[in-house]
């Protein structure tokens, strides 16, 4: 390039710094995104590999169904290519920390713990404390979100086996003192796998001296391969080294297995015999116990029966006696009544006689007596008178004797008469007295009789009362006795019911055991066939899990930056086109001066190249530091890893820069080339403005008619500049899409918990019963818990940690067999996600959850292999796929399970719904439950929901990254659009200003287009966002979690509002520029 041209280019940059910077910025953003996200994946893998190497993660792990002997170990050590072999034991055990039961993976550490011991693999990454030296010392994993374990150095951990076998048979001690806190390259993931004890999920790991394990057989051999450490284990070349060694070990395994086959078989047989004996013993004990209980019950029944009879007998005796006595009393009463009547009649007769006979007679006699007495008194008077007259006559001198005589005689007469009369009176008086006496005598006699009768009556009344009272008392006594008998019956009945339950359940259990034994017997050959599993890192959970996380990131890296590149190219093209347009005259002049096309074009190409190179360098540097760090840390929350080790990825940087430079310079060249083909003369003349023309919309007259004038202008302008239209719509839609995806991620993740533990699992807690419980004890526990007022509903289910297989893919799955399919509907909603259709659990197949179904590419009608956790693999037909977000489940009806696995499902978990699920009540219920002997663990879903939310909150960082990128994108695009729009239409704007448009109207005239384009972009962006969200969700998902697929309406609103907000900010920022456009521009000639 000529120096004058160079100077010109430099001046150009200086003059149009905004334009230069906008190209630079968009390139920088695009490059940063592309290179950054792309670089994150190798950085992630590199960091992990470095960690694996530093702590000597095993290259291969050998597991055998029969364990390994020291001879096996020596044989493997001798295999060509093997560097070291760590032969250790492992087991899963339970412990209780802070009242919570945890499942620990317990691994043995070799005796020689020096870092350079070739046989010390999977080395502990000690964070604090020291390595265990003695028996009873351990290292415990550092708590990680979601699996917090609040154990400090110096604490002790008490282990239990969680199975029927006591832990003392496996370990020398069950009490461990924590001497150090560690991490291990063996466990990167928060998920450590599943087990068949406790909650079924391994929470943490623990390292103890291997010498503490009692078994002579090693459970795992960890093998390192020579030369493998120098390679990145996520590269194929690593496996090229591993493969031959693996083959050699596999070949070796056949010989080793044959040597031990017979030993194993006899061992298995002995075990079965032992089980058989145990079964018989159990059966006998059970039978005796049931028989005893039955006899006792029968005795009770007989006793109760005789008591009842006795009461009946006594009752009838009582009644008879009573009736007899009553009869006597009644007859007495009748007699008395007759006598009374007789008495009354006599009395009446007497009274009548007195009235009719005695009384008149008495009156008559009395009156006669009165007359007689009167007469007598007269006579007496006459006597007295006569006496007087006689005296007088005697006293007369001469006494007149005649007269005297007469008088005397008269007197004598009188006296005789009086005597007669006296006698008469006396008679009469006697008569009267006699009459009275007769009456009184009769009356007295009657009164005597009456008194006798009254006495008899009262005597009778007393006896009657006594009789009634006696009866009532006796009856009451009998009632009491009867009530006693009744309650006795009740007790008898409940005892009988209980016994029946115990008998049937016990019988069932025995049958189950029998069935199991028979199965074991028939499959002894299968069981006895030992097998070695030689597993390379493809089977190492953490390695694969982490690797797939990185690959998921890579998938995102493929989708995302395309946006930015397209937008960058468009921004560059429009900007350069505008620049070239503005400089037509200069180009024409240069051409006229004789500069070659190439030389002239080089100015613009150089301009674009300079912007893109600087932008690329900035983008590479910033992007390759920021993005890998952010992404690594986001994933890092789920993995235990040392800090990220950034690598310089020159090829990536070069490639990205090359793409960016090629895209931008090509855009620049295209812009300038169009002009260069024209003659200088034409170039020096103003370019004819782009012609107005009718747009498609105008053909739709009825719609066009309704447009206001300014709307028409806007519509025409939008369609006039298609490049700008495209750039803006793509850019803005990208912005909205990123925002929507960002918010959508949050929605989907937060929905996971509310949906899983709200609308799918409708119960609040799951209680794992002790594995040693008999059916009857389980039944008792259920009955007992049903009585708890705080529990609204409870039901037993069988839950097994199994495995599911289809083709060569397999995955851990939880088998759920509800005891009552109908009742289970109130606890768990089994429905399809899209149709929300409720599925019923029939006896013809199993229902599987969505995530695992899609992972294995199976659906209704397909058949899969299911392992129920006890080693038996069976073909299971799928009849439905249901919505589910966390973990994988396979639901079967009890009947179907029995049909498939040839054994009934044994309920081991109680699921319960609380009446009130406040935290305090949950805690109280939890504490009560944990105290029970029959409960081994209690899981509340609120707790699970919390820990799950913590785990995935790391993805919020992704949201932040997306929002920031969206903002940058929107700014660059809109700034560019407005800038080009304004400078290209300077004259037009000046003209309308002259026409008298107010500033606001002027900006509205320009911005209406921006706003409309923003709206179109935002609308498109929503569709794009849904798509993007879906892609991100499916790639970012963890294995056991399905994120929601829907986005809240509010997120749509936010995304659009924020996009419009960005647009507004740009528009406001551009407002002063618009205001400053001088009107005199309108007077100038066309450029």
């Amino acid at each position: 390039m000529k120096s004058a041209l160079l100077k010109d280019t430099l001046r150009e940059v200086k003059k149009s710094l905004g334009r230069f910077l906008s190209i630079l910025a968009i390139v920088a953003i695009g490059v940063a995104f592309f290179a950054g996200v792309k670089a994150a994946v190798p950085d992630m893998k590199h960091t992990a590999d470095q960690y694996f190497d530093d702590y000597k993660l095993e290259d291969m792990q050998l597991i055998s169904t029969i364990g390994f002997t020291q001879d096996d170990v020596d044989a493997i050590k001798a295999v060509d290519g093997v560097e070291g072999v760590m032969a250790v034991h492992n087991m899963n055990a339970l412990t209780i920390v802070d009242k919570r039961q945890l499942v620990l993976a317990v691994h043995g550490l070799p005796a020689d713990l020096s870092a350079d011991n070739p046989d010390y693999l999977n080395q502990a990454n000690l964070l604090a404390g020291r390595l265990p030296k003695h028996s009873g010392e351990c290292l415990i994993e550092q708590g990680k979100i979601g699996s917090e374990i609040n154990v400090k150095i110096g604490d002790t951990i008490q282990l239990t086996s969680g199975t029927n076998v006591d832990i003392s048979e496996t370990l020398k001690t069950d009490t461990y003192k924590v001497v150090g806190i560690t991490l291990s390259p063996y466990y990167l993931s928060y998920q450590k796998g599943t087990t068949n004890i406790g909650s079924g999920t391994i929470n943490n790991f623990m390292l103890i001296p291997d010498a503490d394990f009692k078994s002579e057989y090693f459970t795992e051999l960890n093998v390192s391969v020579k030369g493998a450490r120098s390679l990145n284990s996520y590269d194929d070349s690593y496996f090229d080294i591993i493969k031959p060694v693996k083959q050699r070990i596999k070949a070796l395994s056949k010989d080793r297995i044959d040597m031990r086959k017979e030993e194993i078989r006899s061992k298995a047989e002995a075990e079965i015999n032992k089980q058989e004996q145990l079964y018989t013993a159990n059966k006998n004990t059970f039978d005796t116990r049931i028989q005893d209980a039955e006899t006792k019950l029968e005795d009770t029944r007989i006793k109760l029966k005789s008591s009842k009879d006795e009461i009946i007998r006594q009752r009838s005796t009582l009644e008879t006696t009573y009736q007899q006595n009553l009869k006597e009393i009644t007859s007495g009463e009748t007699q008395l009544k007759a006598n009374m009547e007789q008495y009354n009649a006599s009395k009446q007769a007497l009274d009548d006689r007195f009235q009719n006979e005695i009384q008149p007679k008495l009156i008559q006699l009395q009156s006669k007596l009165g007359q007689n007495q009167e007469a007598y008194h007269k006579i007496i008077d006459a006597i007295n008178n006569t006496k007087v007259s006689l005296e007088n006559a005697k006293a007369e001198n001469p006494p007149d004797e005649a007269k005297i005589k007469e008088l005397e005689k008269q007197l004598e007469d009188y006296q005789n008469t009086s005597k007669v009369m006296e006698k008469d009176i006396g008679d009469l008086q006697n008569q009267i007295a006699g009459l009275g006496k007769t009456y009184h005598d009769a009356k007295a006699k009657l009164d005597g009789i009456k008194a006798q009768l009254d006495a008899a009556s009262s005597a009778l009344r007393t006896s009657r009362n006594q009789l009634e009272q006696g009866k009532a008392e006796a009856s009451a006594e009998l009632d009491v006795a009867e009530a006693q008998v009744k309650s006795g019956w009740k007790q008898y009945k409940s005892a009988k019911g209980k016994l029946l339950d115990e008998k049937t359940l016990g019988q069932q259990e025995l049958n189950n055991a029998r069935e199991k034994l028979n199965n074991a017997k028939s499959s002894i050959d299968e069981l006895a066939a030992p097998k070695w599993y030689v597993l390379d890192r493809h089977s190492h959970y953490s390695y694969m899990d982490y690797g797939s996380a990185a690959d998921r990131m890579d998938a995102i890296a493929k989708v995302f930056p395309v946006f930015f590149f397209v937008v960058a190219a468009l921004v560059c093209l429009t900007t350069m086109t505008r620049m070239v347009d503005e400089q037509r005259e200069a180009i024409g002049t240069l051409k006229a001066l004789g500069y070659s096309r190439g030389a002239i074009a080089s100015k613009y190409v150089a301009y674009a190249a300079a912007a893109s190179i600087i932008g690329s360098i900035v983008g590479c540097v910033v992007g390759m530091i920021v993005f890998p760090t952010v992404i690594f840390n986001a994933w890092g929350l789920m993995y235990s890893l040392p800090p990220v080790k950034l690598t310089v990825q020159m090829p990536l940087a070069m490639l990205t820069t090359a793409i960016a430079v090629v895209v931008t310079t090509a855009a620049a060249f295209m812009a300038v080339y169009k002009e260069l083909v024209e003659t200088p003369a034409l170039l020096m003349r103003p370019k004819a403005p782009k012609n107005g023309k009718k747009i498609m919309l105008e053909r739709v007259t009825f719609l066009w008619k309704h447009f206001s004038f300014t709307e028409k202008v806007t519509a025409r302008n939008i369609f006039r500049y298609k490049k700008r239209f495209l750039m803006t719509v793509i850019g803005i839609s990208g912005c909205t899409a990123l925002l929507l995806a960002g918010f959508g991620i949050r929605d989907s993740i937060s929905q996971v918990v509310s949906k899983q533990y709200g609308s799918i699992f409708k119960y609040d807690l799951s209680i794992t019963l002790n594995s040693g419980l008999s059916l009857y004890q389980k039944h008792e526990a259920l009955i007992d818990l049903q009585k708890d007022k705080r529990i609204q509903g409870i039901m037993p289910i069988a839950q097994y940690n199994g495995n599911i297989q289809d083709g060569n893919q397999d995955a851990a799955i939880t088998l759920v067999i509800p005891s009552d399919v109908k009742q289970y509907r109130t606890f768990t909603s089994l429905h399809e996600r899209t149709s929300q259709k409720e599925l019923s659990l029939s006896d013809h197949g199993a229902i599987i959850t969505e995530k695992i179904a899609s992972k294995l590419h199976v659906g209704a009608g397909d058949t899969i292999q299911v392992d129920n956790g006890s080693g038996s693999k069976r073909k299971v037909k799928i009849i439905g796929v249901v919505e589910n977000y966390i973990d994988h489940y396979l639901y079967m009806s009890p009947k179907y399970y029995r049909e498939i696995f040839k054994a009934p499902a044994s309920d081991n978990v109680l699921i319960a719904d609380l009446r009130d699920d406040r935290k305090t009540i949950e805690n109280a219920v939890g504490q009560d439950l944990v105290k029970r002997d029959d409960v081994s663990s209690v899981v509340f879903f609120t707790g699970m929901a919390e820990s799950f939310n913590d785990t995935i909150s790391s993805l919020n960082i992704v949201t932040v990254v997306l929002v920031i990128s969206a903002g940058l994108l929107a700014f660059v695009v809109l700034y560019n659009l407005t800038n080009v729009n304004v400078s290209e239409r300077l004259r037009e704007i000046a003209t309308i200003k002259v026409l008298g448009f107010y500033d606001k109207e002027v900006s509205a005239y320009v911005y209406r287009e921006n706003i409309l384009l923003t709206c179109i972009g935002a609308g498109t962006g929503l569709l794009l966002g849904i798509l993007l969200h879906r892609i991100i969700m499916s790639v970012a998902e963890m294995d056991t979690v399905m994120f929601g697929r829907n986005i809240e309406p509010l997120s749509f609103l936010y995304s659009v509002l924020i996009t419009i907000g960005f647009a507004l900010i740009v528009n406001i920022a551009m407002y002063p520029k618009l205001k400053k456009i001088p009107m005199v521009e309108s007077l100038k000639s066309v450029e």
């Binding site: 004819a688 403005p689 782009k690 012609n691 107005g692 023309k693 004038f709 300014t710 028409k712 202008v713 025409r716 302008n717 006039r720 004259r987 037009e988 000046a990 003209t991 309308i992 200003k993 002259v994 026409l995 008298g996 448009f997 107010y998 500033d999 109207e1001 009107m1079 005199v1080 309108s1082 007077l1083 100038k1084 000639s1085 066309v1086």
Partner: protein, 234 residues
Amino acid sequence: MSAFIEFENVKKIYQMGEVQIEALAGVNFKIDKGEFVVIAGASGAGKSTILNILGGMDSCTSGNIYVDGSRISEYNAKELTTYRRYDIGFVFQFYNLVQNLTVVENVELATQICKNPLNIDETIAAVGLQDRRGNFPAQLSGGEQQRVAIARALAKNPKLLLCDEPTGALDYKTGKAILKLLQDTCREHHMTVIVITHNLALTPMGDKVIHVRNGVIEKVDINDHPIPVESIEW
């Protein structure tokens, strides 16, 4: 009665860095209502500055300007916009039509913002473009485009029609037709029309001719008998 338009010692000084350029060095003139005024002068004489200031596109440094009794030299930016909006019609040398709008729409662009616009169809008919109503500027000849510009200015029903070299980009014949249109408009609608030109040959057509030179008014000629544009040759 005072004049319709009056410039009183109007000065305009541009500050170009450290150099002051006096574009107008005290301009005084009066224009009556309904007059057809030609402002003539060589390039750089200051005639465009006068037009800019009179049109409310620029403000003067000192002096007073009265239009229809209002002192527009005192107006702020917003008042100036309102003044342009309701009182002024502009006809530009390069038409300044919005390329993306049809003839009718370009006129509408002006009428939609003013208080009592003229009937659009009639205005377009008046400039003789009734047959090209739906065309875009690119489909019109230069003269036709300028007619659209005039229609746009007229439709606003302004008090004052300002024309900046209206024939500058047109050929002789078309230019003549445009000038005739302007002259007729002035006569028929009794509108004050001010035409700026560097072409002295046009001066006879004005009622008043203001000669500008070096930022001052050289002289003001008043033609009692202005000549119809048809009879002017240049």
